[in-house]
Symmetry: C2
Subunit: 246 residues, 2 copies
């Protein structure tokens, strides 16, 4: 019998933000190939074999090509394979690349979506990503770029009406705020930074484009964190269940 | 004892794309206030009282203000209230407005995120919303605008590098394609339309900016549907489990 690979989104961190389908797939799995940032509370109850291919930023322990080959090898052994990724597999998670590799190798696969922190992480800090009064669009941008890839079009990004969400952008926080201000965003535009969104150890701060870097440093926030820019951030003091640190 | 309101995302349609937390909240609820487009498979097993406040487009059966007041009234009766919305409560779902109303009324509440069709609906049709080769950002835009609100900045939207996703935009499909072409997007830019994404009755077509409206009409696709614009659409024939109609 030939195997099957499910590319599964584990959600943003809170183990109950897994989907019912993802939970079922995990319970049925023979082997789970998982990333860094996967909450161990999700893995502990499983009977499947667990393989950690977690990558540290700038310290790739297992290459993407090796992961692709591992998935094919396990599937060809007839196994029910889960490729478990934090958030959603297709939101900067290389789900598309792994899907293409599996397709080319003739391995059956599916994509099981997950809750992305790019939306739910905001809600957990009291920020609705859209609001009729403030934002009729939202824009999700990665701070990681492919070597040799295009530079971001800051002129366009700075002038979007909707909420801006930067993932994996903490190393570029100064550059992001600098570019937005240089391209015409008022220095007083509200900004939030949310670390470990939806985890019990979530921490959040609120400031403006001009001051957020200082406030983040004062409170010692670092990756993994979301950067949120736009008027919806102003709702945070009213709607957050846990008050921001600043 | 004072009640509690959970604003819960039901996900895109497939009942197994509910989160574990949302499922638990539904099982514990005294009353569920739900919208149009909620899959009845989610409601049937529940013991809670069910109240339909579903709104048809252009035919508001229950006003947003009436919904807000109903939630407060039920909570003040000491009930565990679920406000169940399709997708995610904060993605054009007025979760923010309802949260503000509950906060102002002194009612305890939470937001339980849901899988949004704006991401998972693409995956279900074989389209990864991001891809290192094609898209390092994505942009989600509603086709519904508040009366008297800003017009979309088409110049900016047309020149985004990343994937564009329009929700509730089927009535404006011609306008959307027209504006994108007029603002410099090539007529050959790939476009997909996905109706009833993740439901068993999902249907999808693929064409380009110049031809999508004709193809949609040929196949009789209508709301509810997603419109997806960008290079990632070109992966659809390779990655879709069910082939597009066109």
């Amino acid at each position: 019998m030939s195997g099957f690979v499910s590319l599964v989104g584990a959600g943003p961190g809170n183990p109950e933000l897994l989907t019912v389908l993802a939970k079922r797939r995990l319970a049925e799995a023979d082997v789970v190939v998982y990333d860094r940032l996967i909450n161990s509370a999700l893995l502990m109850p499983l009977t499947a074999e667990l393989i950690n291919v977690g990558k540290q930023p700038e310290h790739h322990r297992v290459s993407q090509y090796q992961i692709n080959q591992l998935l094919v090898k396990l599937a060809r052994q007839g196994k029910r394979v889960i490729r478990l990724k934090s958030g959603d597999p297709d939101v900067f998670g290389r789900g598309g690349e792994e899907s293409q590799f599996l397709h080319a190798a003739g391995v059956d696969f599916e994509v099981v979506p997950g809750i992305t922190s790019a939306i739910a992480g905001l809600a957990a800090a009291g920020i609705p990503i859209t609001h009729r009064e403030f934002a009729s669009s939202f824009h999700v941008i990665t701070g990681h770029h492919k070597a040799g890839g295009h530079q971001l079009n800051w002129e366009n990004i700075a002038h979007q009406e909707g909420t801006l969400v930067f993932l994996m952008g903490m190393k570029e926080l100064g550059e992001i705020t600098h570019q937005l201000i240089n391209h015409g965003r008022p220095k007083t535009t509200p900004v939030a930074v949310i670390q470990w969104a939806t985890h019990w150890k979530q921490r959040a701060v609120r400031a403006d484009l001009d001051t957020i870097e200082t406030v983040v440093n004062q409170h010692g926030l670092g990756a993994p964190a979301l950067i949120v820019v736009g008027k919806v951030v102003s709702l945070m003091p009213e709607l957050a269940l846990t008050k921001p640190l600043a």
